[in-house]
């Protein structure tokens, strides 16, 4: 299904059963190796395990540099590496906040979600998912046409943020944690940030920083995306 097409090659449609590159008649029979969080130190006696009050899951494509520069202030401790691209888990002792930075990688998301759910049961979980604006479905396109970044929520407590409406949804680790907690009747707020600029430059990041402020999450506004010299016009 995921094979790159050659010129003139006939594209035979496959089923949509598998997200990873697998033909339906070649489904592997051997179970994949189990993923593990790579802890910096033994988690059993760690302070965060018992004292963590809130958990923030910040997820999106290539968001690790933005999230690290914005959310990891002085005093935050890295707890573990999450086995997915540039993802990691941190703890801020002063605010008793656990921060999971997840660089979007949907293939292991179900498994990572279960690892994080087993890790700790925070009283409150907030998830922020960054998505491209083109993925937002609405009958009123004009209402969001000029916004570089706008936010929608699922069970959010901030009244000025509109609720996400069907048929929009989120997918990935944040979605898994929210879904599981929602089914268990536990407190969860999910926010979806739709943006034209996934690199989150200062202009695009403004509503995200305002959201963090409203949620009483400490942040730094000093992040500037790295300037890239490569052109999008030619290979």
């Amino acid at each position: 299904m995921g094979c790159p097409m050659g010129f003139g090659e006939i594209n035979i449609p496959s089923s949509r059963a598998f997200w990873d590159d697998c033909d339906e008649d070649e489904c592997p029979k051997v179970e994949a190796k189990k993923l593990q969080l790579e802890f910096e130190s033994c988690p059993e006696q760690a302070e965060w395990k018992n004292k963590c009050k809130r958990m923030l899951v910040f997820e999106g494509p290539s968001i690790s540099s933005f999230a690290e520069a914005t959310l990891l202030l002085n005093g935050s401790q890295k707890i573990a590496a999450i086995p997915s691209k540039k993802s990691s888990l941190h703890y801020v002792p002063t605010t008793k906040l656990l921060i999971a930075i997840v660089d979007e990688d949907l293939t292991p998301s179900g498994e990572i979600c279960q690892l994080l759910l087993e890790l700790c049961k925070a009283e409150e979980v907030i998830t922020v998912t960054i998505k491209a604006k083109v993925e937002y479905k609405t009958e009123n396109v004009a209402a969001v046409r000029d916004a570089i970044t706008f936010i929608r929520s699922i069970d959010g407590v901030l009244n000025h943020i509109e609720a996400l409406e069907a048929p929009n949804f989120i997918a990935g680790v944040a979605a898994g944690i929210s879904s599981w907690r929602c089914n268990e009747g536990l407190k969860t707020q999910s926010y979806v940030v739709y943006t034209d600029n996934l690199a989150l430059d200062p202009l695009a990041a403004k509503p995200v920083l305002a959201l963090l402020k409203d949620l009483n999450i400490d942040y730094s506004s000093s992040y500037k995306p790295k300037k890239r010299d490569d052109s999008h016009l030619y290979m």
């Binding site: 089923s15 990873d20 339906e24 029979k29 498994e111 479905k137 396109v141 929009n168 949804f169 879904s179």
Partner: protein, 245 residues
């Protein structure tokens, strides 16, 4: 790890003797669309969700107008105790390296079911005899033992091939269910990618013929009484902006 989250004091044993309908993730997502229609038309109640590494988690506002407070999940279970019906819905594709374990866990969970019907689709150009019936089925011996008479009354052809091309995980699930002696049948329609909402209604119409005693979707004047779910809104994305013209 296979996690079944049951709601409102529902127990797994409550589904003993139920007919279970599972969509495979097939070409055109036709089977999932058919289950959407079935859940919406019969106002089925959400009773559980499943999470597993094979499923990409998803979460969002309710897909159905009759349950506005619910949230969508990667795998949802809906039931109708009066009809003894349990319907699965999948909202994300699978991760192939975890599929065998997921199918086995699913079969273990459903070993009390009276019968399991897997809905699917196959690539339209794989149908070699043009004017033959566009539906085929594959049923286990245990399924034929219970419902053989009904199957004979249907116009469907029995599938004798090795592979349902475009059928997704249908055949793998069928084999694992059959190994565990769960009465199981696959019903599929030959179709092509595109707007597959009509295919979904047609698959549901055939299913309704087989299960007319408890699906009860037929109207007095013939035809089916179907309700399109809100999740089908903007099926092909937003309107085209006028500015591009």
């Amino acid at each position: 790890m296979f996690r079944l989250q049951l709601k409102d004091n529902v127990r797994l044993e409550d589904f003993k003797g139920y007919t279970v309908i599972i969509p495979s993730i097939c070409i055109g997502n036709a089977a999932q669309l058919a289950c959407d229609l079935l859940i919406s038309s019969k106002n089925l109640k959400r009773v559980a969700s499943i999470s597993h590494p094979a499923l990409i988690p998803c979460y969002g506002p309710s897909a159905f107008q009759h349950e506005p407070e619910e949230k969508i999940a990667a795998c949802e279970l809906y039931s109708c105790p009066d009809s003894k019906l349990l319907v699965f819905q999948f909202r994300s594709p699978f991760i192939s390296t975890h599929m065998t374990s997921f199918h086995k866990e699913l079969a273990n969970t459903l070993n009390n079911a009276e019968k399991v019907i897997v809905l699917s689709g196959s690539l339209g150009f794989e149908k070699r005899i043009i004017d033959s019936c566009p539906y085929e089925y594959k049923a286990s011996e245990s399924f034929k033992g219970i419902h053989g008479d009904r199957l004979q009354n249907m116009k469907w052809k029995e599938f004798g091939g090795e592979m349902i091309f475009g059928g997704g995980n249908a055949l793998d699930l069928y084999k694992i269910m059959d190994e565990q002696n769960v009465p199981v049948m696959i019903l599929f329609r030959y179709l092509l990618e595109g707007d597959n909402s009509t295919d979904a209604a047609l698959i549901l119409s055939e299913l309704s013929e087989l299960c007319k005693d408890f699906l009860a979707l037929n109207t007095d004047v013939g035809g089916l009484q179907l309700k399109v779910p809100i999740s089908w809104k903007l099926l092909f994305g937003n309107d085209i902006p006028e500015l591009i013209f």
